[in-house]
């Protein structure tokens, strides 16, 4: 949790001034009894109406000053709390962007979102509350204890012991409830994940008529959350009554002690009244504090989750090498490269050796789950090779800065993701400063310009989140345009034409062949037609290289390649 403190740095002044003004206000409030004492002792005793008026006006004045102080305090604490949480939020958002694919796979996006939203909101509320009240209450309590000691040490001991017992109770309660609250938040994660999957999978769920089951499962998660909330709520609910009981038990004890002291003549009645007053002041503050503790434990639990996320270091260290992307395609070498996703798990691909000359076309083909995507994921360093090494333009990918490495690579994944915003904005993901001419050129190459120009507003046509308002094939072509506009050194097409009809696919391949800059191109495909013209073809089978060479070579000496080819061509289609 320590790692969150530094985000208060810019709000150091606010963090001090907020509670300070709160203390000032409290002090002014504490002066009121003195004023009243004077009114009674002097004003009333001498029947001096003028005096009474003057002191009543003084009370009003104290009220005005108090108002000023507390408004200032509220402002500073709101500013510190809001500023703090905005900073933390920004930091977490940035941090998430630096996590490697492996960490993202392990965490799941649901929890990232709860931490960025609901956890931080709770934390913000907790900070605001703490700054406003948390310092004031202990101050008043301590002050009252000290004052009590000046009256009578022995009687004051009752008060001190009561406060001590209370601190213990508060501590135990916090120890009990913080883990429970953390549990509540993680069950909320489950509810969130369910909600998200029900939105994303609405079509499939309905197609299978599974609405009722989904509802049941959601209700299960919802009920589990509810049960733990109620359980943890029941424990926190004891906080207030315990405080009340303890303080009043202390009061009774104080009265008894006081009575004996008065009986022996050590104390006066007035002194006992004063001690009792201090005790009730403590009670009032502690009850406020107890209310706050519940909120505070929640905030602490949430803060813990937020802080844990910040502590997750990316398992991937960024290098520092920065080189320019070559005009005529990058040189890619794989030396005995292999990748496994979990420690001790099986390799999803291994033992790949490849030397791809600049501007060459590499085809990758193989069965479902044979490791094609794993192979190409190592080149932009989405995952670090578990064995062997990968070099791009003569430099190990681990030595590049991410921007320099990924800047020269453009990937079109199997399931391309588009973002809410205009088509122009989406294409510009590939190249920030691309002008309309460049964009249109890329769209034309990607066979996307026809449908884009038919859309209302053309390039300015606004896509909804995930690009849901265009068809799957259109999404793929936009994703290809997004990759092409970058003029990459390496172009990776990961089965990215699966939703295209053959005519469009063929036209696309032709257009890419005729680009005026020549990227080294990796084409992952199921279709032999898409890769048969490649300079080298890698045939993968169950994570291992089953063959490498040109189409003709492979037909001759790779059994698996021949089978794949036959499955697509044999039954005499032509």
């Amino acid at each position: 949790m320590k790692n969150l403190w530094k985000y208060f740095k810019n709000y150091r002044a606010e963090c001090i001034l907020g509670p300070l003004f709160k203390l000032l206000e409290a002090s002014f409030e504490l002066m009121i009894p003195l004023v009243i004492k004077n009114i009674i002792d002097v004003g009333i005793a001498t029947s001096d109406t003028g005096y009474i008026i003057r002191y009543a006006l003084l009370m009003v004045a104290l009220g005005v000053i108090g108002l000023g102080c507390s408004l200032t305090a509220q402002f500073f604490s709101a500013k510190a709390a809001v500023g703090f949480s905005a900073k933390v939020k920004q930091e977490i958002f940035s941090h998430i962007q630096t996590l490697s694919y492996s960490e993202i796979d392990a965490l799941g996006t649901g929890t990232l979102i709860t931490r960025l939203t609901s956890d931080i909101n709770t934390l913000q509320g907790g900070v605001n509350m703490s700054l406003r009240l948390f310092l004031r209450s202990p101050f008043v309590v301590m002050g009252a204890v000290v004052m009590a000691f000046t009256i009578d040490a022995k009687a004051a001991l009752c008060i001190a012991l009561t406060v001590l017992a209370l601190s213990l109770v508060v501590y135990i309660m916090m120890r009990l409830t913080i883990p429970l609250q953390a549990g509540v938040q993680s069950r909320l994660d489950v509810v969130l994940t369910k909600t998200r999957s029900n939105i994303g999978g609405a079509r499939v769920i309905r197609a299978f008529g599974n609405e009722e089951r989904e509802k049941e499962e959601f209700n299960l998660a919802n009920t589990a959350l509810n049960k733990l909330q109620i359980f943890s709520g029941r424990i926190s609910a004891a906080m207030n009554p315990l405080t009340f009981a303890l303080v009043n038990a202390g009061l009774a004890w104080l009265i008894w002690e006081g009575a004996m002291a008065v009986d022996t003549g050590r104390l006066t009645q007035g002194a006992v009244v004063a001690l009792v007053n201090y005790m009730s002041q403590i009670l009032v503050e502690l009850i406020k504090l107890a209310n706050l503790i519940v909120q505070l434990t929640r905030a602490l639990a949430c803060g813990g989750r937020v802080s844990a996320l910040l502590d997750i270091e990316s398992s991937m260290k960024e290098g520092t090498t920065e080189t320019a992307c070559p005009e005529d395609g990058s040189h890619v070498e794989l030396v005995n490269a292999g990748l496994k996703f979990t420690e001790g798990g099986e390799y999803s691909v291994k033992g790949v050796n490849l030397d791809a000359a600049p501007g060459s076309i590499i085809g990758i083909i193989g069965g479902t789950g044979s490791g094609k995507t794993s192979l190409i994921n190592m080149i932009p360093r989405f995952y670090d090779a578990s064995e062997g090494e990968i070099k791009v333009d003569g430099v190990n990918v681990k030595d590049y800065s991410f921007a320099s490495l990924r800047g020269r690579i453009a990937v079109v994944p199997q399931n391309p993701v588009l973002f809410s915003g205009s088509i122009r904005d989406n294409i510009r993901w590939g190249k920030k400063d691309a002008d309309d001419d460049e964009i249109i050129k890329a769209l034309k190459t990607a066979q996307a310009y026809d449908f884009v120009s038919e859309k209302e507003g053309g390039l300015s046509y606004v896509l909804t989140q995930g690009g849901k308002n265009v068809s799957g094939g259109q999404r793929q072509r936009l994703a290809i345009a997004r990759a092409l506009v970058r003029k990459p050194g390496i172009l990776i097409l990961d089965d990215s034409t699966s939703a295209l009809d053959y005519a469009t696919d063929a036209a696309l391949r032709n257009a890419i062949k005729n680009l005026d800059h020549i990227p080294t191109t990796f084409i992952v495909s199921q279709r032999t037609a898409s890769i048969m013209h490649a300079d080298q073809i890698i045939v993968l089978d169950d994570g291992a290289v089953a063959g490498m060479g040109t189409h003709e070579e492979l037909l001759k000496n790779c059994e698996i390649y021949r089978e794949i080819y036959d499955s697509q061509y044999k039954d005499g289609t032509e």
Partner: protein, 581 residues
Amino acid sequence: MKKKQGQAEIIKKVLRYVRPYGVFLLISVVCAAISSLLALVMPILTGLAVDMIITKGQVDFDGILGVIKQMALCIAAISIAQWGTNACSNRLTYDTVRDIRRDAMEKLQKLPLAYNDKHPAGETVSRMIADVDQFADGLLLGFNQFFNGVITIVGTLVLMLMLNPLLTIAVVVITPLSFFVAGFIAKNTFKLFKRQSAVRGEQTALIEEMCSNVKTVQAFSYENEAISRFAEGNEVLKDVSLRATFFSSMTNPCTRFVNNIAYALVTFFGAILVVGGKLTVGGLSAFLSYANQYTKPFNEISGVITELQNAIACAGRVFELIEEEAEVPDAEDAAVLSGAKGIVDIENVNFSYTEDKELIKELNLHVDSGSRIAIVGPTGCGKTTLINLLMRFYDVNEGSIKVDGLDIRNISRKSLRSAYGMVLQETWLKPGTVRDNIRMGRPDATDEEVIAAAKASHAHSFIKQLKDGYDTVLGEGGGLLSQGQKQLLCIARIMLGMPPMLILDEATSSIDTRTELKIQDAFAKMMKGRTSFIVAHRLSTIKEADRILVMKDGNIIEQGTHTQLLAERGFYHKLYHSQWE
């Protein structure tokens, strides 16, 4: 667009949710009454005890012991009652919130898909998670403090009236002022809270988009842009939040100020009364202490009011979702389709997603039971739309679609949809085990049946290799499975269900052709006697079809068998040959 809901309207709806837990509300209120009233007795008891401690040698120990016993009883009763209040209001709040979430999910299942297609997922998620959470916080605080406050006010009022009616009137006249002040501030902060909620929703949508797709973000080195876009929105939210938080926190100091003024006035008038001999000093000091206790809850209540406002603003957003118009419900006399023969008639159908752009025009089609229909055409020709209409994800604008001679609008959705087995190109797997995913097609299937289906779809061999086999938990989006593996699972899903009609939209697009060849047999067996609609680019799948529909721009431009269409040398011919260029 519906009109914006007012606060009163939202509160009424909240109350409807609270009603089933009225018992807890009642216990909570009763307990609050007991604890607050007894708490007022405590100072009286203390006073009695103090009066028994006069001076050296004049202490009534027996009397004090008696008072202390009474105090102990009071303390015990108050503590238990307080715990009761808290526990009941917890229960009340969390149960209410659970019900609201349940209803929201219920609605989510009934919303027309157009809603999903139009609203960013993040926004809906924000309504169901963050907003409901904030609502719970507000409600809880409300219950915990509101009733206590009200009862304390009533109790002290009675005690003050007993002490001095005249001064009481002065207090009573002034304190409502604090409500006016609080009300004024509240009205303005409500707007700010609503705005905060809205800005937060936008931020959640961005978070949702950028964090769920962080892989793509990284692939394009878009991190910095994402961060600066987030920073922009974050600044706006910071401003709005600061204003909302600050303005709402003004309530407390302002009402306290009003109360302090009231206190000063009471002191002044009281002192004058004492000077005039109409009140004793002791009476004044007792009155002052009650006046203080009387005004304090006003502070708390107005503090609670701002919390409640935020809660209401949040509740409003959830209710907007819950009240979103659902799909036209099934007609009461909707037929239940069972053992469909699979005769499909599409008659004069017109359809468009948006009013301004026609998509499908005057579509007519008759499909015989058990026939295999392939649909081909360039991307964006309306294939997917046709499927949306067949499954009744969208209703036709004009014309009708009939299954076995029944208009599908007169068939219950569930029975219509479960008559189709659908495999889409975009695979969706639910977070859960592999087994759960396959069982979607038939929840009551035995393990043997699940495995048989997986074997038929050739998914068994890769499932076996997963860490926990069929019990492997797939994360959101299917985790580490490849696209092809996900498709195999989706195929296993319908192989298990064996519904009477099939829709295969690029069902094997990501599966390698060798595996596909192996599945073909299973597919062929499955399609036998089942009406099937197949969208595919692989002509091997299409060639076997009884009829091929060539679609372009929402119309069927050619239809016939493979040989017929090739002989026509039309669009299909061109499409077919492009493959070999």
